[in-house]
Amino acid sequence: MNPWKLKESLLLLPALLLLCAFFLVPNLDVVRSSVFDPDFTTRNLERVLTAPVYFRVFLNTIQISLVVALLGAVIGYPVAYFINAQPRHIQFRLLLLVLIPLWMSILIRSYSWMMLLGRDGVVNALLIQLSVIESPLRLLYTSGAVYVAMLQILLPVQIIASYSAMTEIDMDLIRAARIAGARPSEALRRVFLPLSMDGTITGVVIVFMLSMGFFITPALIGGRRNLMLGNLVMQHVQQLNWGLAAAIAVFMLAATLAVVILIKWLGRGLTRLMV
C-alpha cells in the first residue's frame, strides 16, 4: 500500500477505537448474555422462539416501525423539497423550525400528545366546539395515537436526511434534462428524484431503526395492544432477567438488520425503475 494511504487510514483509528469500545464490545456482551446465563444455555433463545407472545410483539414492532418509516418518507420528502427550493437564508430558518422539536425530550413530546388527544384534550374540545362531534372521540390510547406521535417525533430525522441529499444535487443536471426535451415533471421524476433517493432511503433506515427501539411513547399513549419489543426488554430488565432481555435484543438486532438490508435493496430497485 502507498505509505500516504496508510497514514491517511490511521486517521480513522480514533473513531474505530471509539466504536469498538462503546458499540462493538457492549453489543457482543449482549449477545454473550443471551447464551451464557451464567453457563452456556439456549434456554433464553428457545423461550423467545417458542412462547407465541414474543412473535406477536415482534410483528407488531416491525409493522409499526415500517409504517412510521414509510409515512415519514412520504411526508418528509415534500417538506425537504420545499425547503431546498427556498433562498438560502430562508432555508436556514425553516431548518431551524424542523430541528427545534428534535431537541425536545421524547417524554415531553409524548406528554404533549396526551394533552392534545385526551378525552378532554384540545382536539376533542375543538371538535365539540365546532359541533363536528357530540361526545369526545377516543383518540388517545389507540394505535393511531402511537403512529401520529412516533411520526411527529421522528419526522425531523427524515426531513434532514432528504434535505441534505437534495443540497448535493447539481441543478445543472435538471437544466440539462430540460434542454434535452424533458418536461419539468419528467426532469423531476427521472433526474431529481433518483439523485435524492439515496439520502431519503438512508432517512427511512434511520427512522426505522429508531422506531424499533421505542418503548416510552407506546407505553404512554398506546392501547394495551401496542406492546413493542422495547417494552418487553424493559419488563425483563426490571426483574434483573438479563438473559431473556438479551435474547429478545439479539432477535431484535437480527430482524432490524434484515429489514434494513431489505429497505436498501428495494430502494435501489426503485431508483433504477425511475430512471
Binding site: A51, P52, V53, R56, V57, N60, G118, R119, D120, R138, L140, Y141, A219, L220, G223, R224, R225, L227, L232, M234, Q235, V237, Q238, Q239, L240, N241, L244
Partner: protein
Amino acid sequence: MAGVLAVLAVAASMQVLASDKVLNVVWSGGTAGEAERKVFVPEFEKKTGAKVEMKASELALLAQLESMVKVGDTHWDVAELAGGKLEIAAEKGLLEPLDYSLIDPENKLPDMARSKYGVVWGTYSTVLVQNTSKNPKGAVMKSWKDFWNVKAFPGPRSLRAWPQENLEYALLADDVPKADIYKVLATKEGVERALKKLGELKPYIPVWWENGAQSVQLLADGEVFYSTTFNGRVSKLVSDGIPAQIVWNGGALHLAYMGIPKGSKNVALAHEYIKLRVMRPDLGRDYLKYMPYPSFAPGLLDGLPKETIDSLPASPENSELQFVSNTQFWKDNIDRIQERWNEWMLE
C-alpha cells in the same frame, strides 16, 4: 505565599472531610421524596453533621444497582426497595445485611417489619379510587364486585399495566376468599380464572396505567372514572378539587422496605439514617402530614386524631379490609405469569 498555601491545604482537607460524610440516598421521586427531604433529612444532617444527597429512583433501579455492585463501585448508601424489589435484590446478593443491634437495639419493631436485608419504612396500599361525582345518584362503590359491575357503575376504568394485584382483585371479585388468593394463583387454572374475570372488564378499560402519577392524572383529566392507585396519591387529587374516594375493601397492602446497597462506603452512617427513619415516632408523625405511609416506629399512632388514623393503610380497621400483597409469590412466579399476561393483553 505560604499563608495562601496553608489556607488552600486546610480548605482541601475540609473538602475531604465533608465529602467523607455524604450519605447517598435513593428514594422515590414526587411527593414521597419531597416529604422525606422535609422531615428526615434535616434532622439527620443536624444530628450527624453529614450531608444527605437524595436521588430519585428510576424504573431500572435494580439494574443500576446490579451494575454498580458488579463493577465494585457502589455509590449509593441507602435505597428504597418497595414493590417486590427487596426480594430480587436480596436474592441477587446486592444488599448488605442489616445490623439490628444498631437499628433497633431494644427489639421494639414487630417481626413483620424486620428482615435480614431490609427493614420496613412504611406501609402503603394499592386501592380502588372512585370519582364520586361520576357515580350514579346515591351509589357508592364498596368492593371489587362494584368495580366489575358496569351496569350499576358505567364509565371508563383503569388498572395498572401489569399482573400484580390485578389478578388478586379479579379473584376477589370472583368470590375467592382473601386467604386463598395466592393458593389459587399458584396454579395455572387459577391464573386463567383471574384473567377470564379481568376479561369481562377489558372493553371498559381504555388505558392501563404505567406509573402512579399517570393513574391520578387519568382521574383528574376525566379520562377514567374509576382506577386503582397508591393511597398516598389520593389526597393530592382531593386537594385539586376531584371528589375522589378510596375503597379500602379488597385493597392490596404493601410493606415498603429500605436497605443498604452492597459495597456502600458508609454502612455505619447508613444504619444511623435507617434508625432515624424507622424508629422515631415524632418524625414519623410529622411525615404523615405529607404522606399517609406509616412506619412501624413504636408509639407512632399515639395521640393521633382518629381521622388521621382512618386515612392510613395499616390502621386496624383498614388493614382488616385488605389483603397483604405477597411479594415473595410474585418474585417466584412473575416470569410465568408476565408472559401469559402480555399474551392476554394482546388478545
